[in-house]
Each structure stands twice: as C-alpha cells, then as structure tokens.
C-alpha cells in the first residue's frame, strides 16, 4: 500500500470508530444501560470460575467485564467502538494481500458486529470470541517453522473452543485457508487434524458440561435467549472468514485507490443502512424512560414527554409515575396520552423487562413486598441466568425495609464485589452495622413508613383500588397512593368508585381531572349540570357542555382531540375502548 493508501486506511478506521461511538453514545445510549442492568459482574474468583467453566466462558467473562462499563453510556459507546476497530484491525491482519480494497473489506465483520449490537439481547462475549479467534489466527501465522506452527494450531483449537466457544470455527477455517496457501498439499495432515479437532470439541464438551450438543455448536453465551441463533454474529464470523480469501484476489483494479475508496464507501453505506434498520427507536424510547425512572429524573421524564407524548403502556406508566412523584398527576395526567389502567400499573408479565419498571412504581407507592416480588421475578426471568446489579440493589433495599437484614446483607455483599455499585453497597452495609440506616437513607425510611403494617392480604391485581386505599388509610401522608387510587378509578372509567374515594381527597382545590370526572358523572346522573356542587368550576362545566354539543354534532375525533384532548371527557369517550 502506498503512503496515501495507508493514510486513507487510518482515516477510515478513525471515521468508523467515531461513527460507532456517536451512534451508541447519542442515538442509542439507553440500550447500553439496558444491557448493563441485566448482569452482575463480580470481581471474585468464584464468579470467574463459574463463568469460564463452559465453552466460550472466557470470552463471555471478558464480554461481561466490558458490559459493566455500559453503566455510563459514553464508556459503553467507547467499548463498542474499540470492539469494532479491533475486529476490523484483526481481520486486516489476517489478510495476506495488503491492498486498500482489502483494508476496506476488513470493515465488513466490524459492520456486522455493530448491527448485531443494535439488538439489546446481543452479548458482548460473542464479539470478544470472534476477536480472540482472529487474534489466534494472526498469532499462529507468525510461527515460521511448519512443524511448530502445526502443533500450535492444533493445540489452539480446543483451547480456543473452550475460551471462545463455537466461534473458534472462524479460527479453524482461516487457519486451514492460510495453510493451504502456505504449504499446499503438505498441510493435508495438519488440516485434517484441525478439522477433526473442531468436530470433536463440542462432542467432548457435551460429555463434560450440562448443555445440549446443539447449544455447544451454536454458542452458549453469545445471545441472551438460548433458543435464538445470533445470525448477525455468525454473519460477522462468516465475513471474517471470507474477507481474507476475497482480499487475496490478484487484480490491478482492486489494488487501486479508487477501488479501495469505493469498497469502503460501499461497506460504510451497508453498515449505516443495516445499523439504522436494525435499531429500534420505540425500544430505545422505553429504555430511556426506564433509565430515567431508575435514576429518579422525574422532571426530565416530563420534559421528554412534552417533546413527544409517549403512547405505549410501559412508557406511559413511567410518565405517570413521574407525574405522581412531582405531585402533578391529578392535574396533568390527561394532558398526556393515556392508555387505560395498564398505563398506570401495568399487569405482571413474566419476563425480565416489564416487572423492572413496574416494580419501581410499587416501590415508590410503598408496596414493598410487591416491589420485591417484581424485582426477584424479573431477575429470575433473565434468560441466560445472569443476575442483575440493579435488581440486587432493589432487593437489598426491600429486605432492609422489611427488616430482613441478613438477606439484605447477602445482596449487599455481592454488590461490594462490583465496580459501580461497590461504594453504595459498602456504605449501606456500614449503616446497617451502625443500626441507623433509616436516618441516612430517606428513601428507605419513606418506603418503611408507607408499607402496610396492619392489614395483610394476598396481592390481587383485580383489587388494586382496595390495596391503594389501604395504603392511604394506614398512612395518611401517602398522597401518592391516593393519587394512584383516583387515577386508577379514572382510567378504568369507574366513576362510581371514583366518587366514593373522592372523600379521601384533602386538596385545598379540586384538581382539574377530578372536577372533569365529577362533572361528567353529575351530567350522566342528572341529565344536565344544573345543581352541580359548588366546588366544581363553572368554567369546566361550560367546557363540558361544549364538548357534549360538539360530540353530539358528530365532529370527528381528530377535531375533538385538538380541542378537548387534555380533558378526562375525551379519554372517557375515545380512549381505552376495550372496557
């Protein structure tokens, strides 16, 4: 390669790294937080041994090590950028003909990896496994003496299979190709040995570890769901295997700078196209809301909703929590899109995502046992059997509040072995030892005060109003429980129950949504608004009259939405129609 071509190559790598960084840091940061919260990386010998004891374990451990940095999105984006650069550089190292086109093609595995990482369930261990395989190809190629090299290559097959899992096949195929080029027929025996070893490794592993042969052939920890084959990761491996032979084609045209730049432009275009195609904006939005709830960024949630009104139950439930935490839910709830009670307190779903943010709501309400259950269940549902640092933290909190100090200590002890939760865990343990944790942790004191102490019953989603009512009755200071109770009745369109519960409201002025609901109920019961209670605003009553007239006049829903979209009446007649 000429100097200019070398410079162009370095520029391509830098541009790619910056692009990958920018994508994950600015366009897709919450996917990184999401990834981080489904693992608990411990700096302990026991944890290391537990992870590395299955084929692919070392790569998985290294992947988990990197994933812990996703706690900070810029660090996570930098990790992905480095992984992509490493994949490109190692692919390039394996190529035997140093042309600019080869350099451009060496971006293909990296591009496939970036697309792969748009999936929130893609695990970093897969990328590390591919990198280790490519590094092994480059390493073994440096041994000049044929015999020694062949021995090293053969030894590396089981070592790599154990360290990286089945992606070691990339190493085997690239080594076979390199040996064919290097030794021709003389390498036949070595090639046969390599292929035989590659075949034997998963079979032998199936006798040693408790995984089916199929999983040992496709990878145990490349993807969070074991029944899904990570096609894009394997595509990256295929690209890594195919690029060096392709780059080896002798052609004057392919060696030229324009061809190299053109190939780079093509790879970059494909990478950008498929990355944006693979990215999921709606998931990113939900993860953003979940992150903001986790960090208790209540005002930021509302600012985000002001820019774009959330519309799926999970994001709406986060918004409603923020509204309640800031005391605005009674006034402002219907200024935002509402999709029924599911958008207030989503029903329990037995997966690892939904109960996480729903559990946050119960935690803030003071339903500590329910928050604990949701946290525990979400963790148990993590498909690859990992633990979650975020959920360990919550479980420690719920156990402290419930007085189960010994159990809380177990969770805290584990967290002391992590990088980003260590400080909090150590401080909490010290406070527990000192016996004055509630004096120093107001969030725990609040949960302790809010939880039910006198009434015990079995949780029932169908009796949510009773549970919320009891929270308020047992602890009159728990205004959030009352807000949720009223909102629950409104969203279910249960105006009779709403009217029963209105007696619990002690606000100096009746909130807007409550007035609208009471006016509607009055109109439904009396046929007109005459004689309505004096605490209901005349302005609201007149607006209700106009709404009814417009509705009776057959005005289209879109027009009513523009005029009355922020009223309870519009929700009552045009939203949550499943009731």
């Amino acid at each position: 390669m000429t100097k200019i071509q070398k410079f162009a190559g370095v520029l391509m790598t830098m541009l790619s790294a910056i692009a990958v960084y920018c994508f994950f840091a600015f366009k897709y940061p919450y996917h990184l937080h999401f990834q981080e919260q489904y693992q608990l990386f411990e700096f302990t010998w026991g944890y290391f041994l537990g992870v590395v004891s299955v084929p692919g374990g070392l790569a998985d451990w290294a992947g988990r090590f990197l994933t812990q940095f996703f706690y900070y999105a810029p660090a996570g984006a930098a990790v992905f950028a480095l992984l992509a650069v490493a994949a490109q550089w190692l692919t390039w190292r394996v190529c035997r003909r140093p042309t600019l086109t080869a350099y451009a093609l060496s971006f293909l595995p990296a591009a496939a990896l970036v697309v792969f990482f748009c999936d929130e369930h893609a695990l970093a261990g897969g990328a590390v496994a591919l990198l280790l395989s490519l590094a092994a190809v480059a390493l073994s190629g440096r041994v000049c003496v044929d015999g020694r090299r062949h021995v090293l290559q053969a030894v590396l097959v089981p070592v790599l299979y154990f360290a990286c899992g089945p992606l070691a096949v990339a190493y085997v195929l690239l080594t076979v190709w390199a040996e064919v080029l290097r030794c021709g027929r003389r390498a036949l025996l070595a090639i046969c040995v390599l292929l035989l070893l590659a075949l034997l490794c998963p079979i032998v592993a199936s006798r040693l570890v408790a995984y089916p042969l199929g999983r040992l052939c496709l990878g145990v920890h490349y993807y969070r769901y074991h029944n899904i084959v990570p096609g894009l990761l394997w595509a990256a491996a295929l690209a890594a295997v195919c690029v060096p032979p392709l780059a080896g084609i002798r052609s004057r045209f392919l060696s030229s700078t324009p061809a190299g730049l053109g190939a780079f432009a093509l790879v970059a275009a494909l990478g950008v196209f498929f990355t944006f195609r693979a990215s999921d904006a709606s998931k990113e939005e939900w993860m953003r809301y979940d992150f903001m709830v986790r960090m208790e960024m209540w005002n930021r949630i509302m600012m985000t909703a002001d820019v774009r009104n959330p519309d799926n139950p999970k994001t709406v439930s986060c918004l409603n929590l923020a509204l309640a935490k800031t005391g605005r839910i009674a006034d402002s709830q219907f200024e935002y899109f509402q999709n029924g009670p599911e958008g207030l307190l989503p029903e329990f779903v037995g997966d690892c995502t939904n109960p996480v943010s729903t559990g946050e709501i119960y935690w803030h309400l003071g339903m500590v046992n329910t928050a604990q259950r949701f946290a525990f269940e979400a963790q148990e549902a993590i498909p690859d059997f990992q633990k979650s640092a975020r959920l360990y933290k919550r479980l420690a909190q719920t156990n402290i509040v419930n007085g189960d100090g010994a159990v809380a200590r177990k969770y805290l002890q584990s967290l002391t072995h992590t990088l980003f939760y260590r400080r909090w865990a150590r401080e909490t343990l010290a406070l527990l030892d000192a016996g004055d944790i509630f004096a120093h942790r107001p969030e725990l004191a609040l949960a302790r005060d809010r939880r039910l102490k006198e009434h015990d019953f079995l949780f029932s989603a169908s009796e949510m109003d009773s549970m919320l009512g009891l929270l308020k009755v047992e602890n009159p200071a728990n205004t959030m429980a009352l807000d949720y109770l009223m909102a629950w009745c409104l969203l279910r369109k249960d105006l009779d129950r709403f009217a029963e519960c209105i007696a619990l409201v002690e606000a100096p002025a009746m909130p807007k949504a409550y007035q609208e609901a009471l006016l509607l109920r009055w109109a439904q019961q009396h046929g007109s608004l005459e004689g309505m209670p004096p605490y209901l605003s005349m302005a609201h009553a007149q607006r209700l009259n106009r709404f009814i007239l417009d509705m009776q006049a057959g005005k289209p829903e879109a027009e009513l939405l523009r005029t009355y979209g922020n009223t309870y009446w519009f929700y009552y007649f045009y939203r949550y129609r499943s009731r």
């Binding site: 302990t44 026991g46 199936s206 006798r207 408790a210 995984y211 089916p212 999983r215 029944n227 037995g350 339903m367 500590v368 046992n369 329910t370 604990q372 259950r373 525990f376 269940e377 963790q379 148990e380 549902a381 993590i382 059997f385 633990k387 509040v401 419930n402 007085g403 189960d404 010994a406 159990v407 200590r409 177990k410 002890q413 584990s414 939880r451 039910l452 102490k453 009434h455 015990d456 019953f457 079995l458 949780f459 029932s460 549970m467």
Partner: protein, 488 residues
C-alpha cells in the same frame, strides 16, 4: 546489596518475633462464637471435615483432640481447613465418644482461647450422600436450577441434571429408601415428563390420565420398589402484601394415587379422591402395608386459606394386589390444635413418623413457624423435635436408610435461603444437635450461595444417572402414558 538484604531479613525477624503468639492466648471462659454452630453437635463417622470460622476474629487456630489423645490442628485467617484424611482418622477413632475442640482467635492483636466444647461422634453409620434440588427461593418464575448429589464424606457435589439441558424446571425427586438406582423425577414446562430410573433403565412418562386430576406431583416409593405413591395437585401461588409473610402456595384440588410400575397403571380409590377433601403428601409405612398422607377439608380460596388445616391420615394398602383399603383413619388431628401437618415420613425401621407442623396450609417452607414433629408409632406419643427446631422455618426432612439420621431443610440462617441440617436420632427418638451440611469454607460458601437447597434425600451410593440420556429423553416428544384402574 547484601547489607540491605540483611536489614530486611532482620526487620522481618523482629516483626515475626514481636507478633502475638497463640501460646500467649488469654483464656476466655465463654464458648466460641463460630459459624456454623458446631458446638455440641452429633456427627457420624465418615462425615467431611467440619470446617468453621470464628466470628470477628482476624485469625483462628483450632485443636481437635480425640479421646485417645490424638490431636489435629488447623489454623487460618478466615476459616479452619482440616486435612480430610487426618480428620477422617480422628473421627473414626472417636466413634462413640467426643472430640474436644479448643478454639483460639486473634482479636485486635491479641489471642483469646475459648472454653473447649465437644463434638459427639455417633457410632451409627450414615449413608453415602444426599440428593437435593438447588434453586433460588423465588416466586413463580424459575431460573437456573438442578438436581445434585453430594458425597457426605467429602465436599464433592455433582450435577445430575440441570435445566441448561432443556427448557423447563426439575421438580420433586424421590428414591426407594435411598436406593440410587430407583428414582422418580419430575420435569415441568414445555418438555414436561416424569422420569423413572430403575436399575439402569430410564423412561419418560406422561403421568396425566383422563381419570385423574393432573400430573403426578409428590412421590413416595413403596419399600418393594413396585409401587410409587403420588399426589396430584392443582397448585397455585399468591403473594402477601405485608412483610412478615411473602408467599402462599396452596392447592385448589388434590388427590392421591398409587402407580404400579409393573402394570404401568395408576391405582386410586374414591376415598383418596374425595371432591371435598384435599389429600396430599403420601408416604408408605416401613412394611409397605399402610399409606400415610395428609388431608384437609376443602375451603374457599383465598379467603379460607388461613383455615385450611391438614390432618395426618392413613389407609391400608395391600402390596400383593395393589388394593387400597376402604377406611381412612385419622392419625393426628392437627386441625383441632389449630395447626396443619405436612410431609409425613415414616422411619424405615417402622418406629417413628416425622412430619412438619405449621399454622395452616400445605406449603410450610414459607411459614416461619414451621417445625418438625415426631410421632412414635409404637406408643402413639407425639412431640415437637425441640432438639432440632429453630425459631425459623424447619421443613422438609428425610430419613437415612438405617433410620438413625435425618436431614432437614431450615431457614434458620437468614430467614430465606434454605440450608440443610443433619441430625442424629437414637432408638428412643431422642435427637442430637443438628449440624449444617459441611463446606470447605462455610462462611464464604453460604454467603455467596444464592440458591436454596430443596427436597434433600439420603442416597446409599452415587446415583447412576446418565445425564445425556436423560436430556435426550426429556427433549424427545415421546412419553409413555400411564394406564388407570380403580382399586378393588
């Protein structure tokens, strides 16, 4: 250079010379606060070393003395680490007598020697090991779990089956009086089945029939090995809102049935399948001619849950014909005491029956008040086994093949994570102080272990279980159906 090295060596020597010596330990008349609490426990010959740590100590030094004067020492910063071989020799020399344990600990730079305590070594042999399930003490969703065997003479634990091998969960397992070659094991989930292994043969069954309530659940082998008694339960869970309790597991219906392994058919009788009675937890007597179980009158769920109380019952069984007796008999009226019985387990020598008693319901593991009780089948005397019970949950239990030991699960450690305790019981039914299942570094092991032990069963040898064959059988859709017949 030489001079510098000399200075360093001298400094090191001075440091060592100035370091506190264990021989200068100050006598402390109290018993040591050790974890696990092995003070005064009764152990069998052949048990793995009872390593322990001394709470709050920077270092621990322990001397074990056998009655013949043989001494074994161990010291460590965190925990003891007795040599397995020398421990085994010492314990076998002490059979029928006590080991004397003297513990010294380093606290704030000073050694303290605590009052010696004894560990009684019973001459009664214990079985080869234990088989148990390990899983997180969760609610409805399960994560990583498996069935494991643990050799009691060492710290070796071997996975028999783990749910990384298939989609689903591994459930109740049972052996014929600890015989590892005869095992019943349930698989739940998409690949649901009941695996039966007998003398190297492994078959996956579909235990649900048109005439029975559902799949087979709680198993118990007949001493002949021909029959297995099962309950069949329609089980649900609910979750408390108050912190004192977390979970309620209850049945909406349950019946009993006996599986004839020779005829491949379920046998049941109307008296064990009453619509207004919930029958569960079957267990054959030592002679195989009586079937014990627990039963409760049906109540409305969930309101009536605190009133659901199970009594201990029995019915006769004829092993020759597989006939179930007509008359059911009340053995222990737990309900009249405001309590509920579960897990009846007759000792294999026919003398005792151990069961769990809690305030209500049929799932005592989530009841902190659960305790073990013992019924003397000769005298009819019933008493709580106070020698082993704790303030927290003491629940599932199983007898050793010679009926001189029992293992039980307990939450006494932290109130949530179930651990295994083994206790000796003599011919008169007097139990010794139980000991926690030994581990090499128990403090670290149990602190880092986030899984509970579940359904511990003694086994008389290693389980000849082919994991890969079982995996193939589970993942295959083929299931052998159970036949059905009413008892004569």
């Amino acid at each position: 250079m030489i001079r510098r090295n000399l200075y360093i060596a001298l400094a090191a020597l001075v440091l060592v010379a100035c370091a506190p010596k264990e021989r200068d330990a100050v006598a402390d008349g109290r018993l040591p606060d050790i974890y696990p609490d092995y003070v005064g426990v009764t152990i069998p010959v052949g048990i793995a070393p009872l390593d322990f740590s001394l709470k709050g100590a920077d270092a621990v030094s322990v001397q074990l003395a056998a009655p013949d004067g043989t001494v074994l020492r161990s010291a460590g910063r965190v925990a003891t680490r007795f040599s397995r071989k020398r421990w085994a020799q010492l314990v076998s020399r002490s059979a029928g007598d006590s080991l004397t344990v003297t513990v010294s600990g380093l606290f704030d730079g000073r050694w303290r020697r605590f009052a010696p305590f004894g560990i009684f070594v019973s001459p009664d042999a214990i079985d080869y090991g234990l088989a148990y399930r390990m899983l997180e003490p969760g609610y409805e969703i399960y994560s990583f779990m498996g069935i494991y065997e643990r050799e009691l003479g060492s710290f070796r634990q071997r996975a028999l089956l783990e749910n990384t091998q298939f989609d689903g969960c591994v459930n109740c397992h049972s052996f014929k009086r600890g015989d590892p070659s005869a095992m019943s094991l349930h698989i739940r989930g998409a690949h649901g089945a009941t695996l039966l292994t007998r003398d190297g043969d492994l078959t996956a069954y579909n235990t649900k029939t048109d005439s029975t309530l559902g799949f087979c659940v709680y198993p118990y082998w007949h001493p002949s090995g021909r029959y297995i008694a099962y309950s069949t339960n329609s089980t649900r869970q609910s979750f408390h809102v108050q912190p004192d309790k977390l979970i309620e597991v209850f049945d909406l219906a349950s019946d009993l049935q006996v599986y004839d392994t020779q005829a491949n058919e379920i046998i049941t009788a109307p008296q064990l399948k009453q619509p207004d009675v919930w029958e569960t937890f079957p267990a054959f007597s030592a002679d195989g001619r009586t079937l014990y179980y627990t039963a409760a009158a049906r109540v409305d769920i969930p309101d009536g849950l605190p009133q659901s109380r199970y009594n201990l019952m029995k019915v006769s069984f004829d092993p020759e014909t597989g006939s179930i007796g007509q008359d059911v008999e009340l053995v222990f009226d737990a309900a009249s005491r405001g309590r509920s019985a579960s897990f009846p387990r007759p000792s294999y020598d026919g003398r005792f029956l151990m069961f769990t008693l809690c305030d209500y319901g049929t799932f005592p593991i989530w009841h902190h008040e659960s305790d073990l009780w013992l019924l003397d089948l000769q005298t009819g005397e019933i008493r709580p086994v106070d020698e082993v019970n704790s303030a927290d949950t003491d629940s599932y239990h199983s007898w050793s093949s010679n009926s001189r030991w029992f293992v039980f699960s307990s939450r006494r450690g932290d109130g949530l994570f179930t651990r295994l305790y083994i206790a000796h019981i003599d011919a008169d039914g007097v139990a010794g102080k139980p000991f926690l299942l030994p581990q090499r570094d128990p403090q670290a092991y149990y602190t880092e272990l986030f899984r509970s032990y579940n359904v511990p069963e003694f086994i008389t040898g290693p389980v000849p279980f082919d994991r890969i064959r079982a995996q193939k059988a589970i993942n295959s859709p083929e299931r052998v159906p159970f036949g059905f017949r009413w008892s004569d």
